[in-house]
Amino acid sequence: MRLGVMRFAIMRFAITRFGIAAALCALTAGAWGAGFKVELQVPRLQVAEYHAPYVAFWVRQADSGAVTPLGLWYDDQEKWLKDLRLWWRRTGRGQSAPYDGLTGATRRPGTHTVDFSELPALADLPKGDYELVVEAAREVGGREVVRLPFHWPVTDATTVRADGEQELGAVELYLAP
């Protein structure tokens, strides 16, 4: 696995004609350097019974539909994972704990930032068109999916934004080369 990442870093150096310094920098940092940050709002809802939503993040390749899981917020209750229906079908049901990507507890209402930049799975993505998919499901609540299209690898710093209507507020993807 480690070897694979190293080889990829060198290959990338060749393809993108980055300077030697940049490639060395990426290698010594132990990561490939690009930024992939997600900022999302968990809306505050006026309901009698509130549970923080379970949220899943993954990247889907536009052509092949190939899925790269990025992360999952849940509260160690496997029982509700199936309610993230799209995530469950695409990747969740084939996994078991610990789930792929950055996993953590659910988040309370407010704005939260997750930095996926260091995730090896992202470094392995071939060039192409993708979408970041964010799905939220809340116990005794609703379910919502938002999609943020982007191109990989990133050439210019870009922000992609999509707005949820029920279970998610604004979702922003910050990309940097």
């Binding site: 009698a48 019974e49 950055l102 996993t103 659910t106 309370r108």
Partner: protein, 269 residues
């Protein structure tokens, strides 16, 4: 590949304040509500988040059928399963039946070492005995819940639907077995037999498993205790309301929590 665990989320303030609001919905689901000749019907009961799919079974203690003549009806084939309890009801005469589950209980809320706890029991004395020493903020509540549904052979009647006069109850203005899509139904809510105004009643259409939102709505009772419900379409609906006051019967109880939960079938016309 678990890389960086996120910081644990803070405990929900709501959870601390209202443990009662965290329960799954308990329901009764009749196989038939409007029939044209005498027959047996069957009922499923369960507590679940997705109405009306079974999840957690609960005991059938307190199940009662009141027939059109006001007398107890016949129940058979009680089954307490893992995910649901089931029983059959004999609709053996013309008119309307009320099928209900009524079981008063007590809940103790207390604080210990900075944490809130709650415990259920059959009597305040037993609960007070079970509370650990050093616990503070002890509060005992009487919980009176009416869980019910209705079925009718022939024309709807109201004799068997008379309120008991205890707890939060529904008194039909529109008969609960005379509900049709596109029409407005009116129900009156009573506390200990008296109309209650300002009561919030939540209405939930069946089938949450197959949609992305709850689609519940809330209506508030007027000065006569009445709510108006416009059914968006045919199907089964779950009605839920609760009311708190300090009129507990038991001297050791600090207050009471009254709950009403009903299942209604709306037919297409």
């Amino acid at each position: 590949m678990k890389l960086l665990p996120f910081a644990g989320a803070a405990l929900s303030a709501l959870m601390l304040l209202s443990p009662a609001a965290q329960a799954h919905k308990r329901w009764l689901l009749p196989s038939h509500t409007v029939v044209s000749d005498t027959q047996w019907i069957t009922l499923d009961t369960s507590a679940s988040n997705d109405i009306f799919f079974v999840d957690k079974a609960f005991p059938l203690d307190g199940v009662r059928v009141t027939g059109p003549d006001g007398k107890d009806g016949e129940i058979d084939n009680r089954l307490e399963g893992h995910r649901r309890s089931v029983f059959d009801v004999h609709l053996n005469q013309q008119g309307s039946y009320r099928i209900s589950l009524f079981r008063p209980l007590y809940v103790a809320l207390y604080e210990q070492d900075g944490e809130r706890h709650h415990q259920r029991g059959d009597s305040p004395e037993a609960l007070l005995k079970a509370i650990p020493e050093g616990a503070g903020e002890v509060r005992i509540s009487e919980v009176i819940s009416h869980l019910e549904t209705f079925a009718t052979v022939g024309a709807p009647t109201t004799e068997g639907l008379a309120p008991t006069g205890k707890g939060l109850e529904l008194a039909p203005v529109t008969h609960p077995n005379d509900l049709y899509a596109g029409e407005t139904a009116r129900f009156r809510f009573l506390v200990d037999g008296q109309p209650v105004s300002g009561l919030e009643v939540e209405v939930m259409p069946a089938g949450t498993r197959y949609r992305d939102s709850q689609d519940a709505w809330t209506v508030t009772s007027n000065d006569q205790g009445e709510v108006s419900l416009e059914w968006p379409g045919p199907g089964r609906y779950y009605l839920e309301a609760s009311h708190g006051d300090d009129r507990a019967d038991h001297p050791k109880a600090d207050g009471r929590r009254l709950q009403y939960m009903g299942t209604f079938e709306v037919l297409p016309l």
